[in-house]
Amino acid sequence: MALLEVRSLTKTFGGLRAVEDATFEVKEGIIFSVIGPNGAGKTTLFNCLTGILQPTKGTVYFEGKDTVGLKPHTITGLGIGRTFQNIRIFPEMTVLENVMVAQHSRTRCGIISAIIRGKGFIHEEASIKEKAIEYLEFVNLSDLAKSPASSLPYGDQRRLEIARALATEPRLILLDEPAAGMNPQETAELMVLVERLRQWGKTIILIEHDMRVVMGISDWIIVLDHGIKIAEGIPEEIQRNPAVVEAYLGKEFTY
């Protein structure tokens, strides 16, 4: 059984069909890329998968469970983590706090235990912190744990977002253009990081414009154009697919 099964997913905004009848499945443990020109509906697709938007039509099954209609925090709780194209860290928190807060749904102690500060509470706070530092070490940011998140350089903020997504303990991670705005060296490091995520057993769905990234690490690619899936396959097939070339470069001019 596939980890994620999307059937006939459609999202319309008024008359605009942002995603139309998208059907695909994502097998466990792979790097799955979604590509397509700007405005193809890639981010809308992510928003539907994470519960930020409700699909107009269609079904989404994650580990066999129907997630349509669930709130974002419930879907996160099921095991889907995510990063954004425009970075959305919590700017007025420290790097460490950003990661600690993401373990919210994974811990039990609530307001009552916080007030009485029982043993369980103190123990739990300590273990949250310990785990947060592990995630920061994974993305190589543990040295900056105490810094305000907003003071980090751009590339570090992107990695912080990944650490924070990891802290929600997802089985599936959605990365929305993680290499956007990165220099070639940072992009190369990012590719290594994504590969390490996979080795760690995470399944990854990647939206990316940088074709070297996409073709280099993807196991499977789907191509969206104007909300419609126009192709899918392994990188070599996608590169040779005329429909894909046309979507990106326009129809070949013939005499």
Partner: protein, 299 residues
Amino acid sequence: MFFQQIVNGLTLGGVYALIALGYTMVYGILELINFAHGEIYMLGAYLGIIFLGFFTAIGLTHSNIILALALTFVLSVIFCSAYGFTVEKIAYRPLRNAPRLSPLISAIGVSIFLQNYVMLAQGTTDKVFPHIFGSSGFGLMNARITYIQVFIVATSFVLMIALHLFVVKTKMGKAMRAVAQDKTMASLVGINIDRIISMTFVIGSGLAAIAGLMVAMYYGLVNYFIGYVAGIKAFTAAVLGGIGSIPGAMLGGIVLGLVESFGASYISSEYKDAYAFALLIIILLIKPTGLLGTRSIEK
């Protein structure tokens, strides 16, 4: 005289700060000025009279006054928190995605409703809060300090420190800050936003209830419109400190209390209410974000 005004100002300021915290926390999370917040404070004062009256009737106040008072505080806090929780649920939550003006008008509606509800239930005449501490006190540095003043200052500072620790240190506090900074992202890291918003109203209302009770004990008189002036003053304190900022609300409340107290004694008590607003205008001219406010992000 000088020290006396410091004590009076801190007493007043502690109360303003407790109410201001409710305004600022709700604003920080929903960008809503909860005009009904002053009424929660008023309800706290009335509930105090009701519960204390009940404990007096059953003889508990006579046999164990500390227990009677403690129970009065706890019950008033629970009831006011329930009011705050309910108000958010029925008056603000359905308007979460409405234009910003809608919940504001809804808040004014709740405020008018609660005032009239208390007026109908409790009458238009002042209610007397039982004298418990009386006016007993002690002298210190030429000032006369009553025990109730000590109680108010101590309680408000302890509560402020506790709230600060809660917000900075605990998991729920971190979740609250995350929701204030980016609601969508907060939900994507697994935080149930609705629960955090409810919790914010519960905490803010609880603090307002304690403020209402303490003021009722201090002045001895309660009526159904005390929430209006106290609400406006506390809102001023929140704006003064930088709306949305929790330490700002604390500082704003204290500063406002001191300014009022000093203004009333050194200039004229006729203009007692005007000092607060004069100060607000001056601060906002110099620093539009308030004393501790950070930049405001337009979304």
